[in-house]
Subunit: 308 residues, 2 copies
C-alpha cells in the first residue's frame, strides 16, 4: 500500500495512492503516524476504505502533498554509504556514521525548494529512506527487518559551501594520558551539519510511503535522479555499503528507534552512463529545478526550485 499525507481545505488528510496517478483520500482525523502505530488493526481497514473509495479517486497531480510523515521524531541520515565512496575515504569508521535532519527541513512532493543566495551551492542527493514501524533498541540483525514499516524517497539536499563554512580546525581538549586532572590539546577537525543539511526545504520527501510487503528486496531498487529532464544518476541500492538490516541493528544499539522515525540510507552516486555529471555538479542555486528522484517500486519525487 502507498500512504501519503496531503493538505485539502486547510486540513491534513491521508492519501492512499492506488497507482502512480490516482489516490483516495481517507476521512479527516486519520494520520499516517496514527496508522503506523496501530497498523495490525488499521492496515486491513485502510485497504477496504481505499477499495471502497476507488471510484472517487483523484489525480495524484491534483493533490497538495505534504511529507508522508509531517513531523517524524527523528530523521537519521547515513553518511558516505555507497560503494563508490570507498576509494575516496582515506580514513573513517567501518560502521554507519550518521547525522540528522530536522522535521522542519522536510518538504512534500511538488512543493518548491526556496533557495537564498546565502545558502551557497546546493546539490541534490537521491536516497532510499526507511520508515520504522515498531519501537526497538538493541535490535539483533536477524530481527531488524521486522521493524521496517515501509520505504520512501528522500532528496537529501546539501550545501557544500555551508559545510566548508561550518568546519572548525581547532585544538580539542582531551584528558591527559596520566588519568589525572590535567589536559592536553589534540589537533582536530569538526564539521557541523545543522545548516548544510538542516535548512528549510533541504528535505524533499515522498510522495508516499510504500509498505514493506511491496518491496521484497530493498537492495535491488534502481535510483534515478533527473535534473531539468537530464538524467544525472542511475544507481542501484545494491551499492549501499551498509545494508538496511545492518544499519537498523547497529543504530538501535545507540538510539531507540521509534515508529515513524526515518532512516535515509545514503546517496545514490553513480553518474548516468549517458550523462557524466555528478550530483555535485547540479548547483540548484544557480541552475534552478525541477529536481526529480525516482526509485523503482516506490515512485517519483519531484520538486521545483525557486532560485534566489
Amino acid at each position: 500500500m502507498k500512504l501519503g499525507t496531503v493538505e485539502a481545505d486547510g486540513t491534513q488528510r491521508v492519501a492512499v495512492a492506488l497507482d502512480d496517478t490516482r489516490a483516495v483520500l481517507l476521512a479527516p482525523g486519520t494520520t499516517v503516524a496514527g496508522l503506523i502505530g496501530d497498523w495490525a488493526n488499521a492496515g486491513p481497514a485502510v485497504e477496504l476504505a481505499a477499495q471502497a473509495g476507488a471510484e472517487e479517486a483523484v489525480p495524484v497531480a491534483s493533490l497538495s502533498w505534504l511529507p508522508p510523515l509531517p513531523r517524524p521524531g527523528k530523521i537519521i541520515c547515513v553518511a558516505l554509504n555507497n560503494s563508490a565512496n570507498a576509494s575516496r575515504i582515506m580514513s573513517g569508521p567501518g560502521h554507519p556514521a550518521t547525522f540528522s535532519k530536522p522535521a522542519s527541513s522536510l518538504l512534500g512532493h511538488g512543493r518548491p525548494v526556496r533557495l537564498k543566495k546565502e545558502f551557497g551551492r546546493v546539490h541534490p542527493e537521491p536516497e532510499l529512506a526507511v520508515v520504522i514501524g515498531t519501537k526497538g533498541a538493541d535490535i539483533p540483525l536477524s530481527r531488524a527487518m521486522d521493524h521496517v514499516f515501509g520505504y520512501t524517497i528522500i532528496n537529501d539536499l546539501t550545501s557544500p559551501d555551508m559545510r566548508t563554512e561550518d568546519t572548525f580546525h581547532y585544538r580539542a581538549i582531551h584528558p591527559a594520558k596520566d588519568g589525572g586532572d590535567g589536559i592536553e590539546y589534540v589537533d582536530t577537525w569538526v564539521s557541523y551539519s545543522g545548516r548544510y543539511k538542516g535548512t528549510d526545504g533541504f528535505g524533499p520527501i515522498g510522495p508516499w510511503i510504500v509498505t514493506a510487503d511491496e518491496i521484497p528486496d530493498p537492495h535491488d531498487l534502481t535510483v534515478t535522479c533527473v535534473h531539468q529532464g537530464r538524467v544525472i544518476t542511475v544507481d542501484s541500492t545494491a551499492n549501499l555499503t551498509h545494508k538496511v538490516d545492518g544499519v537498523i541493528s547497529f543504530l538501535s544499539g545507540y538510539q531507540t528507534l521509534e515508529p515513524g522515525d526515518i532512516i535515509a540510507m545514503g546517496t545514490a552516486l553513480k553518474a548516468s552512463a549517458s550523462g557524466g555529471a555528478a550530483v555535485q555538479n547540479v548547483n540548484l542555486t544557480r541552475l534552478g529545478g525541477p529536481i526529480e528522484v525516482t526509485i523503482s517500486g516506490i515512485g517519483t519525487l519531484s520538486n521545483p526550485v525557486e532560485m534566489p
Copy 2:
C-alpha cells in the same frame, strides 16, 4: 513561572514548581507544548491553578520528571560558543555553527544516564537552553527575544571517542572550476554527530522551563557543574560568544523556528578555581555519577549514571 512535565500513574502531567522544592500538578490532558502554543490565554489560567493548588503541592524530589517538553520538534545545539574556545580555534566560522540532538536522546531530571562500554568516554557539557515560544523565520535581531518562551538547563553529554570514530578523512567531490560537468577532488575532514551527541540518555534536560519574564538577562547567569559533589565548572553565560538574540536571528534565516524548539547555547567551560579539572576529564563511563548542572534563576538538573 516554572513549567515541567512529570509522569504520575502512567500519564504525563504538567507540574508547576512553586520554588525549588514544591510543585503543583495540573489536571491531566494539559501539556507544556499545548500551553506554549496558547500562552497568552493559558498563562494566567495556569498561574491561578497553581495558586489554588498550593496547599496540595508535592515535594519536587517525590516526582518522576520527564523532559519539560518530551518531544520537541528540534533541538539545535550551538558548537564551540564560549569565549574560552576562541584561542583554540585555528579556523572556523564567525557565525553560530550547530548540530542537533534527537528527542529520543532527552532524559528528565533524576533519571539515570545508562552508559554502555561501546560509548567510550562520555563527558558532561553544562548549558543554558532557550525554548522558543512563537514561530518565526528571518527574524530581525531586534525582535529575536520576542520569540523566547523561556529557559531551561541541558547537559549536552558527549562521547569524544565516538566523535573520533565517526570522523572521515576523504576526498570530497567538487565541481571542476571551469563550470562544466567535470569534477575535482578536495581533501576534506567531516565528522558526524549522530551517535556522539544523539545517543539515548545524552540529553538530560530540565527539571523545568522558567518563563522569560523571570530571566531579565540570560547573559548574566551562573552555570555550575558538579560531579560526585565536586565542583567542576563555574562559568557565566556572559562568556557566550554568540548571544541568544544573535543566535535566534541568524539561525532563523535558515531554519524556521517553531514553538517548543530548543536551542542549547553551548558549553560553559570555565574550570572551577578550586578544582582545575575540565569537563573533558569527567569520564562518566569510568567514574559514574551523579552529574549535576545548576543555573542561577533556573534550578538544578541532577542525574545518576549507570556505569557499564
